[in-house]
Subunit: 230 residues, 2 copies
DNA sequence: ATCATCCTGCCATAATCTGTCAGGACACCA
DNA sequence: TGGTGTCCTGACAGATTATGGCAGGATGAT
């Protein structure tokens, strides 16, 4: 196995373990000596991997992924830049910041002339319609989706009726003017979606909902979406 | 210099030359033997670089860029996915296809579990308002911008008046419902923008306009944009 | 046919990577 | 205090990989 493939593997193994792992274990899993492992860790850190090692504890990796060297065509790069600009402008909040960071990361490894070209890229995102409020809950919702956790919300529907529900959020839709959480609703025992700006209160829970979000998304996609009552 | 850095360099050198370059020249520029150059080319091709070598001619690289290994956080990856989906859905045409390709490229190098997670990513782009037509010219416009070429167009403004103009396109704005070409207009001798769907005829030219698009963009950005008459 | 080039195999040499060993340092615990 | 589990670094010999030189084949343009 080539060294670079091994480095990818190492990242993978670290990603699997949520707990700290000792260097010795990592070395055994990779079939290399501990000395080489230290060298590999140092190489990955030099490449930007967020690995921390604490004496007496072990290594742990901040959630993230390493992309191996990759070719993009001009069009593909432009598409990535335009998409990131849209997210940065229209999604806002931490996700928007993340889009900017991703772009900055890509720019920083490009040669100078390309970096300038990228900065001055000719594809711009117009202002568009103002997004209705409700960004405050967006991060919590994304986190709940990622961790497959239930949320307790208070919701006010389009005709002003309020309700309290426990929902299993599994997707987040970005529309021109609003964001919609797509969920399984325990109250209705069915799929329901909720505009983020109409959620008046949101409480995170630690309770994992009993189905996988990928499955829920798949089932939801197979439905007819024209009957979206809450 | 490490081998991986040298490979990046090689891509760079190839990118600079628009004409075919002989392996001997490349080897000299990199300070390596021609034998090693052949090995390097083979490595890059194996990594997906679109390099073609023809006996008697030399090497040439299809426009594109190589990204070295790169770490992204979870948020950054989600932002890239969401952005690409938006481009794919709302920009359409070759650019939308490029967004899909970029995503597929990223997915293909990710480990299996991550690929599934990416496919089933929980951030969706809603349908939004229909984009008015006018996509037909978009590729030609993007190409003209990239190559800094003049365009001859026939345009019909919002009140139905037609005109023929020669424009220097330097940016393309994506709004929720329309796309706008931002240009220097030879007729008005000033900055003007044109909705892509109102361009009734578009002729590409081979005439390079006499200023750099980055400079034009910079100057345009410093203007007050609330007086956009054509 | 000749030229300029791409391309591959082989092999000795050069460079790099790896494992072993020998420390040092730090945090935690008894 | 000392002991344990870990991270971390330096040095060096041996293993592995990369490189250059050479020989020879192939292809397309002129």
């Amino acid at each position: 196995m080539s060294r670079s493939a091994r480095l990818l593997d190492l990242i993978q193994i670290l990603r699997r373990h949520r707990q700290p792992v000792s260097g010795e274990n990592l070395a055994r899993e990779l079939g290399i000596s501990i000395r080489t492992l230290y060298r590999d860790i140092a190489t990955l850190q030099a490449q930007g991997a967020d690995i921390t090692g604490e004496p007496g504890i072990g290594y742990i990796l901040k959630p993230g992924f390493m992309l191996p060297p990759l070719m993009f065509s001009e069009d593909e790069l432009e598409a990535l830049v335009l998409g990131s600009r849209w997210v940065s402008k229209r999604a806002g909040g931490p996700l928007g910041k993340a889009a900017e960071n991703a772009l900055a990361k890509i720019a920083s490894v490009l040669p100078k002339d390309l970096r300038e070209q990228l900065d001055a890229t000719n594809l711009l995102v117009g202002p568009g319609d103002p997004v209705v409020a409700g960004d405050t809950h967006l991060s919590a919702i994304r986190l709940a989706i990622r961790k497959e956790r239930k949320l307790a919300i208070a919701y006010e529907d389009e005709s002003g009726r309020s309700s309290e529900r426990t929902i299993w959020p599994f997707a987040l839709g970005f529309f021109d003017r609003s964001r919609v959480v797509i969920t399984w609703c325990e109250l209705r025992n069915d799929f329901r979606h909720f505009r983020a700006d109409r959620i008046t209160r949101l409480d995170e829970t630690d309770i994992r909902y009993p189905r996988r979000k990928a499955i829920l998304l798949k089932e939801w996609r197979e439905l007819d979406h024209n009957t979206g009552k809450n």
